[in-house]
């Protein structure tokens, strides 16, 4: 599992930079870095910890027993080179230089033999930080390998045809009942107008008959009645017809006694 080459962020075959047209495939093995590559080199590292880790792994140093002199010297070589070329160096690199020198000088001091407390290794904090950083660095690589939405797989989102299915207001019988009640209330309050208690069926038949007459042609009276209707419906239709005649909506003609009765819309032509 830990076989990844963690020292460098790049995958093997990917040039980290092109210098004078030549692909730079890896950080040069020795400490010499062509000046043109320095900036690229610096950008390759995510900071002093990253650079230190690189040096440690590169030179097979034991992270738990870092030879401070060697590491400090190498680190400073890089930093000095970069400064000499006047790259703007993040303050963190200089801060790390100071830290390394401090640790180195402390390790050089003779250990007080009589000390009762176990003195902590001055390198311990640096090692802890290096390990913690390395841990996160690896975690980042592994996170990046996980399949990722939009990069490694797509999400399914089928179109919802909202327009075709635009919701319309729903009405139910109760709505109508309430609306009618409100009307009655208002009618009672506003005037003593009596709203007729007319059978709905007759009014419905009136609409129906008017529809049948819409063409403007005269229709035989008996044709207005579907053969399957019940007696009450026949009565309702008849009353509707009378009502329509009363309201002058239809004309009823019977050319002769006992002849066929024709019903016709009273309007010229129902071009509505």
């Amino acid at each position: 599992m830990n076989t990844l080459d963690e020292a460098l962020p790049q995958t093997e075959n990917q040039p980290i930079a092109r210098i004078c047209g030549q692909p730079l495939l890896e950080i040069p093995r020795d400490l010499y870095i062509p000046p043109e590559a320095l900036e690229v080199f610096l950008e390759t590292f995510e900071g002093p910890l990253d650079l230190l880790l690189y040096l440690i792994r590169k030179h097979n140093l034991d992270i738990l027993d870092i030879p401070m002199a060697q590491l400090t010297q190498q680190y400073m070589t890089y930093v000095e080179m970069m400064r000499a070329d006047q790259f703007e160096l993040a303050a963190e690199y200089l801060l790390m230089t100071a830290l390394l020198i401090e640790i180195k000088s402390r390790t050089l001091l003779p250990r007080p033999v009589t000390e009762e407390e176990v003195e902590t290794d001055p390198r311990a904090e640096l090692v802890r930080r290096l390990l913690e950083y390395e841990q996160m660095k690896k975690a980042a690589l592994r996170l990046d390998v996980l399949p990722q939405a939009q990069r490694d797989f797509a999400l399914v989102e089928v179109w919802i045809d909202h327009i075709a299915a635009q919701p319309l207001p729903q009405v139910n019988i109760d709505d109508l009942r309430l609306a009618w009640l409100a009307l009655i209330e208002r009618a009672k309050v506003n005037r003593h107008h009596q709203i007729g208690h007319e059978a709905i069926s007759v009014r419905a038949c009136m609409s129906q008959i008017l529809r049948q007459l819409q063409s403007g042609k005269a229709v035989r009276f008996d044709e207005l009645f579907s053969p399957t209707v019940s007696v009450t419906e026949v009565v309702a239709y008849f009353l509707a017809l009378l009502e329509l005649a009363k309201e002058m909506l239809v004309t009823i003609d019977q050319p002769d006694n006992f002849a066929v009765i024709y019903v016709k819309s009273a309007q010229p032509t129902a071009a509505v």
């Binding site: 299915a165 709905i200 069926s201 008017l210």
Partner: protein
């Protein structure tokens, strides 16, 4: 981690895609595409290694495959896309509940008058409601297919007569107008129940009125 040879990719030997793979790839692309995919784009999926005939056949297969489900493959201006069927909307709406739109009181009262007193003219409605009826209200109900004009009254101006339609009955789940609550009952109900004049809500209403 994903560098095994992909069995779906024709190898260097340039095996043609099988019909099964074509359908499978098309389906995946159409389900994940944010936009309709034109035929030219669908061909890109196969880097041209597919004939128009094969493509068309695969689209037909896909369309048939999905026809009984809640989504369907359709051809729109921009190309092909899956979309949900309108009948599924009611379920999908439960996930993101928008308040169902409601008709204004003005619309409902107008509808009630037409339902109970048909055929009626706009004047009739205004007389009963006591306020002017905007033509928007009538248009809303006509557009809904719930009322239509059935003629004109033979009086000066020849006003249009409105009646409710069969569709109105269907939509309200009624078999006939007789199934509307009877007026007598309603009148009796109001007469018995109240004395305090409920003028307040009513007058409030007339002003709020005419939006649809």
């Amino acid at each position: 981690m994903s560098n095994q040879p992909n069995p779906l990719l024709p190898s260097e030997t340039r095996l043609a895609f099988s019909e099964y793979d074509i359908v499978r790839i098309l389906e995946t692309a159409l389900l994940t595409a944010p936009e309709p995919l034109a035929l030219s784009e669908l061909k890109k999926l196969f880097e041209g290694e597919i004939s128009n005939k094969q493509l068309q056949a695969a689209l037909d297969t896909l369309r048939t495959k999905w026809q009984d489900s809640g989504i369907e493959l359709v051809q729109v201006a921009g190309g092909w896309r899956f979309r949900s069927k309108p009948e599924m909307q009611v379920f999908l709406d439960r996930l993101s509940p928008q308040k169902p739109p409601r008709y204004s009181r003005a619309v409902l009262e107008t509808l009630a008058i037409i339902a109970y007193r048909q055929p009626v003219t706009r004047g009739d409605i205004e007389e009963i409601r006591g306020v002017a009826v905007s033509s928007n209200i009538l248009k809303t109900l006509e557009a809904r297919g719930w009322i239509d004009s059935v003629g004109q009254r033979n009086v000066p101006g020849r006003p249009t007569l409105y009646a409710t339609t069969e569709r109105f009955l269907d939509d309200l789940n009624l078999q006939s107008l007789e199934q509307l609550p009877p007026l007598d009952e309603l009148v009796a109900l109001t007469e018995s129940q109240d004395q305090p004049p409920p003028s307040e809500p009513a007058s409030e209403d007339t002003t709020e009125d005419e939006q649809t």
